[in-house]
Amino acid sequence: MHRRDFLAACGLTTGGMLLPSFTGRLVHAEELRSTMDVGLKKRLADAALNAATKAGATYCDVRIGRYLRQFIITREDYVQNVVNTESVGAGVRVIANGAWGFSATNDLTEENIARVAQLAVAIAQANSHNQTAPVQLAPVKGVGVVSWRTPIKKNAFDVPIKDKAEMLLQVNGAAIAAGANFVNSTLFTINEQKYFASTDGSYIDQDVFRLWAPMDVTCTDKATGKFRQRAGLGAPVGMGFEYLDGSPADKVTLPSGTIVYGKSYDMKEDAIAAAKQARAKLAAPSFKPGKYDLVLDPTNLYLTIHESVGHATELDRVMGYEADFAGTSFATLDKLANRFRYGSDVVNLVADKVQPGSLGAVAYDDEGVKTKRWDIVRDGVLVDLQAIRDQAHILGKTESDGCCYADSWSSVQFQRMANISLEPGKAKMSAADMIKDVENGVYIVGDGSYSIDQQRYNGQFGGQLFFEIKNGVVTRQVEDVAYQIRTPEFWNACVGVCDESDYRLGGTFFDGKGQPAQISSVSHGSSTARFNGINIINTARSLG
């Protein structure tokens, strides 16, 4: 399909996410249900490992990947496109003479993969001439032959395309019937069949599933020429099609009356609400700028965590490896050493590569490291960063954090953000309890516009729905709101986090990093949290 159609169809033209390239082979939907023979993968991997070792590599890893994607794109009452793609191949990474070398191929024969492994060694040897210090790799104990699969209940690729398209058209129809003028909805389903083998003695077969069903509902007012959009409040997830079951037990009614979703999503119900709320946005009063106490629902806070904590604590950014592109970070090594106060005492931020249902969950990362959960900020203090095998020594660590990822067999794996989440508060507190104490505040639901500087200090975030809070009561829906933060001040202004019963995951499906750019998917969990005295700007403008 044409890239522009994809952008327009998904309503992503104003978004900041990195879009996947469509370099995969288009295939039948049926082919998306199969897997590669694990015996064949092991033979291919051994051919590469042996060839690399023989050619002089002191370390080698092989990733044999089959990456499957299906996108169903609709607007109003018709399907605009159905795309099934498959990309299969192998990437071989080696260390020779203390330097990295990488080579990849889509020709999966034992003879060719051995040749590619030799090429990777030759590249490493060439690179070693200009290397100022040899690669220091944190040790990993081989795990032998193991496998892991995302614990899905219903494989989305098993559901006939017709049924999935029909579901989206019903969602669109419900929004139109509820007063929307336009609606775009899309279903993205992804399956990464990844086989990893290394000279450490690991043969790891993983079958990873992710799903996202975004939508955008638009209401227009012909008389005034105004239009407003409300995006869906569902999250991208590391789950199967069961996420779209919309179980009543997973619904949460917020103090604003808004319904949000936990472990499953009722897209049709949300489409109806979106149509009504987009209409209400057209008439909602413009909000007065100033300092307010902010109450942020997890559907909003996840993106602020992503930008102000997730990216800021990536060690490659901290060191300067991303300086020409996404930038560096204010969270420097000296701040880590000096126990920098990142937030208030109630702020506990954890990195997590194992959380069920999250986009980042795997058993082993893309360099064969067993995944784990670790602290980044504990009781408000910066205690750690995110590091992979060749970075661990910089932090004096003896093991990788297990957050290495490549978006394709043909991409070189590098440090990517783990799920970074705000731990729920320990004391019992609901969003309604929290709002009761707010005299003059704003309650924000859903993610909107987002922008942050190249060292992750100054951020500005919007939302989908804004509600005024006066003397402990949600009074009315308002518009034209964005909050501006300075990261450490923002997290130090956090005075409360609701308890575990309010904890939900949000996430970003196409997060971009690196040159050439690679995509990654990552979740961020939190409960509703309160931040005092935050600067709110009014985003309305008059064009005369």
């Binding site: 978004g15 300086a323 964005a482 064009l543």
Partner: protein, 460 residues
């Protein structure tokens, strides 16, 4: 990459169209080789070459569409691919937006290929990195940067007789120079179709100069300022405008070009009288493919003339529905400019701010095209016609619609790919494939009054 000659490529797409039994068929064969070298902390960090050749076959039975791709080109593979597309089309729901493929067309001759760019080698890329690093090191600075170059071709044929073949090249370079203490940062970018005469050693001087001049910053109060936006900053503000000239969004009532009471603003004065925006596939230095995604011929189209909207872009479907003529989707956006250099504009400024680039630009309100983002890598206070001192970076909240109503002076336009955001350029990321004769901005420096900065940033 499977290298095909023009004759071979044309023969393949013609053969494929002939194989299909569907009502309509078009075939597109494209090849792309990209090479890159990345450096950081004064070291080459990664380098590589990625090759991809792909044939895409699109067929239609009535309004049912099917698409299949393949990267093998023997007769059996071609036949299989056509049959697969036909099978998918039979199963597909009807697409009401389908319009038949085009018949024979006459395309403009545009020069999108440079033999020099196509001849770039791994050694050349390594030398660009080495030259950038050496110059920065000599000034006691730390270099990080990226060079990416690409060459490719596209051949197509349709059932109704449109056909074409063209080769393209592009080179994109950027370098960030930072002082060792992290208090100064400068940046330079260069995007070229023809690498002849490109010199990283020369280009990197701008980044070095800005890094060294930006160490002792002072903080100015946020507010409205006269700004001189360098071309990269202007391209960042214009980037989101390209989708604004879509007729369908305007007619549907969801664009700033929608009119109260319905309809669109064609004929209305929306910007200041100095502003002229147009697209021209044959613009020297920014030449692009002479056809769009639907193989519709691109010609020169003026979108805004003297501040007045003169044209909107109509897809075939929307044109048919509205009784208009379709207009090809443009491959470039050009803002007409003058002859002044940025230095000339600084000399004529009593008080103002010079902005090197804008970063992490995101839409805040599509109704007014309000954007937010930050200054980065060289922001300076101007007083009495001279740069007085470097200043701390600002966050802006401004609409290009307002900006283009407040233009005081226009500089000399240069070729760029739009500066987009945190994830990269042009609305999220820079896709070198897209830059192969597809998406180029030609932007001048602008002097603009009352540009809105809303907060300070500590980032360097």
């Amino acid at each position: 990459m499977t290298i095909f000659t023009e004759d071979q490529a044309r023969a393949i797409v013609t053969k494929v169209v002939g194989l299909s039994k569907a009502d309509d068929c078009s075939a597109n064969l494209s090849g792309l080789v990209t090479g890159n070298a990345r450096f950081a902390l004064n070291n080459l960090t990664t380098s590589g070459i990625v090759e991809n050749t792909s044939l895409e076959v699109e067929v239609a039975f009535g309004k049912r569409l099917g698409t299949a791709t393949v990267n093998a080109f023997d007769d059996a593979a071609l036949e299989r691919t056509v049959r697969r597309a036909e099978e998918l089309a039979r199963l597909a729901p009807e697409n009401p937006e389908y319009t038949p493929s085009l018949g024979p067309q006459t395309y403009l001759a545009t020069q999108t290929f440079s033999a020099a760019t196509a001849a770039i080698t791994p050694a050349y890329r390594a030398q660009v990195a080495a030259d950038s690093i050496a110059a920065c090191k000599a000034s006691d600075l730390t270099a990080a940067g990226f060079l990416e170059d690409a060459q490719g071709y596209e051949a197509f044929a349709t059932r109704h007789g449109a056909t074409g073949f063209q080769r393209s090249t592009v080179l994109d370079y950027s370098c960030t120079a930072r002082t060792r203490d992290g208090h100064g940062s400068g940046w330079v970018t260069r995007n070229l179709q023809d690498s002849t005469g490109f010199s990283a050693s020369a280009e990197v001087r701008a980044a070095i100069r800005k890094a060294m001049a930006s160490t002792e910053t002072k903080a100015l109060e946020p507010g409205k300022y006269t700004v001189i936006l360098e071309p990269a900053a202007v391209a960042g503000m214009l980037g989101p405008m390209t989708s604004v000239f879509d007729a369908r969004r305007a007619d549907e009532g969801r664009s700033f070009l929608s009119k109260k009471g319905g309809g669109n603003k064609v004929g209305d004065q929306i910007f200041g009288p100095q502003v002229t925006l147009y697209s021209d596939p044959a613009f020297p230095g920014a030449e692009v493919l002479p056809w769009d995604d639907d193989y519709r011929p691109r010609g020169r189209v003026t979108w805004v003339d003297g501040g007045k909207v003169t044209n909107l872009q109509y897809s075939a479907y929307w044109a048919q529905k509205q009784g208009k003529s379709p207009i090809a989707r443009p491959g470039n956006l050009i803002m007409a400019g003058g002859d002044k250099s940025t230095a000339d504009m600084v000399r004529g400024t009593e008080r103002g701010i010079l902005v090197t680039r804008l970063w992490y630009i995101r839409s805040v309100d599509p109704q007014t095209v309000l954007l937010t983002g930050l200054t980065r890598d060289g922001t300076f206070y101007i007083e009495n016609g001279a740069i007085k001192y470097p200043i701390k970076n600002f966050r802006f909240n401004e609409s290009p619609v307002i900006m283009l109503n407040n233009v005081e002076e226009i500089g000399r336009p240069v070729r760029l790919v739009g500066e987009g955001g945190g994830g990269g350029r042009r609305g999220g990321f820079f896709n070198i494939g897209s830059a192969l004769g597809q998406e180029v901005t030609v932007a001048p420096a602008l002097k603009v009054r009352d540009f809105t900065f809303t907060s300070l940033s500590d980032a360097i």
